[in-house]
Symmetry: C2
Subunit: 222 residues, 2 copies
DNA sequence: CTCCAACCGGAGAGCTCGTCCCCGTTTTGC
DNA sequence: GCAAAACGGGGACGAGCTCTCCGGTTGGAG
């Protein structure tokens, strides 16, 4: 996301008339979001807030000042990640000539942006019907849908997969495995994503069990 | 694993001269191992023991009687899973004519046996040099190696992957995603495994980054 | 069938860890 | 240079986890 776009989005979310945050406050807010993103990917939505503050290099009070409770932080990370993912997807649609390559770019980028952190989106701690959340999910879903559709129409992506297949597998493959040093695991992640992507190519060499699903179907209260 | 084999293995581990356990005790031990396996896959080696006892349908005291502390339980689950995986792999080698199909059978079976529970094998809580642990890891590794080698020699499996690629991805793809109901996720797991397997087929449609790794390289103290 | 040793499970003590607030100190921007 | 805003360390409080104690129950040998 460009600096200007980010700034506009931030202003929009803060609302009008609210005084601009001080420079150090903005910087800390950003640091906390990054740290929280990593923590949520690694430990789920119940990661320790003190731990997040520590790895962000700020005091715990600073975290609580920016995000009064856990839910606010979860939502903050959610929208932070969603914004970046959407930007990424639009860029992939815009710049990649080959539909499969566009999907691959998106997948690799989404992995870097820790799309796995969106899994709290599917948790109890998250109201799926709140308008802003609904909009976030829809945006990511439609974007992925579009990338898939193009690939499938060009017969570069197998026809029997859906949005849910991409999103869920992507989340799984990029999560740290407990007990493995992160550095070690990152070396694997890129390989596994590539292997998975290779499995998505058309023509399909096998028949998949079950059926493709949307993100909607993954909601806990189904 | 056959009943007889399981019994022999159990006797071997219990040692000679120790009186046979009562039927209900043996049954509870088994239940606890199953529950602990699920919990370790879901939450890593630090899963709550009381929670394990509850989902096993036994009192917590029963758990502590069978497994005096967490380490003993971790080891118990480890060897329980290892035994089943090895049996599975040997069966796949024995019964499948096609090398790729053998690998696929093994992978699917290992997923059912929650091979992801072996990730504590890579954790701090685990002495990788203790002879029995070393042997377990070696057995699984050699078996997977052999399945891979056959597939690769028959040019059915791409040449640029290693044991670590299979084991790690398998663990990741079969782990429950936090916030997703298990029932929902199981439907996906089979699909994703198949997609990943399709990515393993020869000829390789892409070049993988990095290099194949053994389980040895995944040890935390590298 | 009877009996007792082995086993079981609930309840609770002790402790660790996570959450959240208070307040003296530092930083920012005008 | 100063006032307002933000910072961070420390600590009270509570939740949850580990592990133990003990009265009741069950399996199976004789």
């Amino acid at each position: 996301m460009s600096q200007a776009t980010a700034s506009r989005a931030a202003t929009a979310r803060r609302g009008v008339g609210v005084p601009k945050a001080r420079a150090d406050a903005a910087r800390n807010r950003e640091r906390i979001l990054h740290a929280a993103r990593e923590a949520f990917v690694a430990h789920g939505a119940e990661a320790s807030l003190d731990e997040i503050a520590r790895s962000a290099g700020v005091g715990n009070a600073t975290l609580y000042r920016h995000f009064p409770d856990r839910d606010v932080l979860v939502h903050g990370v959610m929208h932070f990640v969603t914004d970046r993912i959407v930007e990424l997807g639009e860029q992939a649609l815009r710049e990649s000539a080959e539909p499969f390559e566009a999907l691959a770019c998106f997948v690799r980028g989404a992995a870097e942006e820790r799309i796995g952190a969106l899994c709290p989106m599917l948790s109890d701690r998250f109201d799926p019907d709140e308008p802003e959340n609904l909009a976030s999910r829809r945006r990511v879903e439609q974007l992925t849908q579009e990338l898939l559709r193009r690939g499938q129409e060009a017969a570069q992506v197998r026809a029997d997969i859906g949005v849910g297949d991409v999103m869920v597998a992507l989340s799984q493959l990029t999560r740290p495995l407990p007990g493995v040093r992160c550095g070690q695991l990152d070396r694997f992640t890129a390989r596994h994503l590539q292997l998975y992507l290779d499995g998505l190519r058309a023509p399909a060499p096998s028949r998949l069990p079950g059926h493709a699903a949307t993100l909607e179907e993954l909601r806990p209260d189904d």
